[in-house]
């Protein structure tokens, strides 16, 4: 566990030693507030909650998360530092987990920095802060799923741009699987169990409860399994690289 912490700490300090992290943070916060206050009409709808913010979070993740996860392994492989890391007494799983946790904390920071919106609704009304907290927590879990996908795509290429695009593509597919348009497309020909299966695989289906501030164990479990699956996939990919 100590090893995981050392790797996590190094990775996290790596984020803040380049300007990329700050740029990504600023863009995320600008977009998050834009969507919440303008598109989501946070003021005009006259309700004291943060639903307008949370509704857009998965779509913002589409750019935020790949931007954060793209360097996890691609950069190590491009610069060759992966050889240094993996010849230390660490297991691949410790390295994958440590790096993932660093990226997750970074996203946690990004989410926490949306606090002015929370202060705003509290000044304007009496929101259900418990529900808001649950929704924040939910967004944090959702981020883990996206990030694990990003860790996986970063492990398969040395090129950060490709890692970014692949992560965004996979996440779009996982999001859209729950979209009514996609569901309709399947309903025309597919048996009901397949339609259900596709919909239940979707990030979006499991996100809707979360935005309402309802933390259902099944939704949390879904994101935990997605995270675990893609982190294990990263490990498998990196392990297979050793035999290339």
């Amino acid at each position: 566990m100590k090893t995981v912490r050392f790797i996590m700490r190094r990775e996290l300090s790596g984020y803040f030693s380049t300007p990329i992290a700050y740029v990504v943070l600023v863009i995320f916060l600008l977009l998050a507030n834009w969507f919440a206050f303008w598109t989501g009409a946070l003021y005009e709808r006259g309700q004291a909650d943060l639903a307008p913010l949370f509704t857009f979070v998965p779509w913002l993740y589409l750019f935020l998360i790949p931007a954060v996860s793209m360097r996890l392994w691609s950069e190590e492989r491009r610069s060759g530092s992966i050889e240094l890391l993996l010849t230390q007494p660490v297991t691949l799983w410790q390295a994958v987990l440590g790096k993932f946790l660093a990226a997750w904390i970074f996203i946690g920071i990004a989410l926490a920095l949306t606090f002015p919106a929370w202060i705003t609704v509290n000044m304007l009304g009496n929101p259900d802060n418990g529900a808001i907290f649950a929704a924040y927590l939910g967004c944090f879990f959702v981020a883990a799923g996206f990030l694990a996908v990003g860790s996986f795509t970063s492990s398969i290429t040395k090129n950060q741009l490709i890692a970014f695009l692949l992560a965004a593509a996979v996440c779009v597919v996982l999001l859209m699987a729950g979209f009514p348009a996609v569901i309709n497309l399947f309903q025309r020909w597919a048996p009901a169990w397949l339609v259900e299966g596709v919909a239940s695989l979707s990030f979006l289906t499991h996100f809707e409860n979360i935005t309402k501030g309802v933390l259902d164990l099944r939704d949390v479990l879904y994101y935990a399994l997605i995270t675990l699956f893609f982190l294990l996939a990263s490990t498998v990919v990196l392990e297979s690289r050793k035999s290339k």
């Binding site: 050392f6 060759g80 530092s81 240094l84 230390q88 297991t91 050793k242």
Partner: protein, 236 residues
């Protein structure tokens, strides 16, 4: 000690390392020689556990690198080819990171870090990020991380590459100093290095072992008595 048995690596039909068996004992400094592309780095990477052999085994101090990778790696200090590093990290925090991964803590951690920083003369660049360092300094930081935990076995892939003559001499002196109780393998294509630091030389060509002798024994193989004549004769 290091032991390899029938170590082989097949890259999609290209045999980079072909049935290599050798062992290196404590007190030995083995010069690992061969033309570019002979399989030196591939062999070292397999022993260090970075790539998986397609055949055979390698062990460090009795720990098989496939079966007990953590125990084997704990015994090893390794300088990868080209001394890769984390560009955005400072020298100081990089060495601290490696010391942490190596399980050093407390007073030992501090004294080992002070020792390697002093020994490789890194005091002046300790706060600098690694990407701003010259090639020679990068190599010295690479050496520092390889010896920070005082490992019984060292594998150094081209440790003096990119260093100026004074720095080369420094590194050779360092290797000579720590050689007595350690098992050391260095790869090089600089033949004078073999005379300067190695007690034994191993030449490979096209992945195969072609010579295994003391520097003096190798030299005796050519009428001219020159190492590079021997090298050309066996490696060509």
């Amino acid at each position: 000690m290091i032991k390899t048995q029938n170590l082989s690596k097949n890259y999609d039909g290209i045999l980079a390392v072909d049935d290599l068996s050798f062992s290196v004992e404590p007190g030995e400094v083995l010069g690992f020689l061969g033309p570019n592309g002979a399989g030196k780095s591939t062999t070292m990477r397999m022993i260090a556990g970075f790539i998986t052999p397609t055949g055979g085994t390698a062990s460090i101090c009795g720990h098989d690198i496939q079966q007990e990778p953590l125990q084997a790696k704990a015994m090893l200090g390794y300088l990868p080819e080209g001394a890769p590093h984390y560009g955005e990290m400072s020298v100081g925090s990089f060495l601290e990171f490696i010391a942490d991964l190596r399980g050093l803590a407390g007073a030992v951690r501090k004294s080992r870090l002070d020792h390697v920083i002093g020994r490789l003369q890194l005091d002046g660049v300790i706060a600098q990020t690694m990407e701003t360092l010259s090639k020679g300094f990068k190599r010295r930081v690479g050496l520092a991380q390889a010896i920070v935990h005082d490992p019984p076995v060292l594998i150094l892939d081209e440790p003096t590459d990119g260093l100026d003559p004074i720095q080369k001499h420094e590194v050779r002196t360092l290797i000579g100093e720590i050689a007595k109780e350690k098992t050391i393998v260095i790869s090089t294509h600089i033949l004078e290095e073999v005379d300067a630091v190695c007690t034994r030389a191993l030449i490979i060509a096209r992945g195969k072992l072609v010579a295994d002798d003391t520097p003096a024994g190798l030299r005796a193989r050519a009428p001219s008595g020159r190492l590079d004549d021997v090298f050309r004769a066996v490696a060509a």
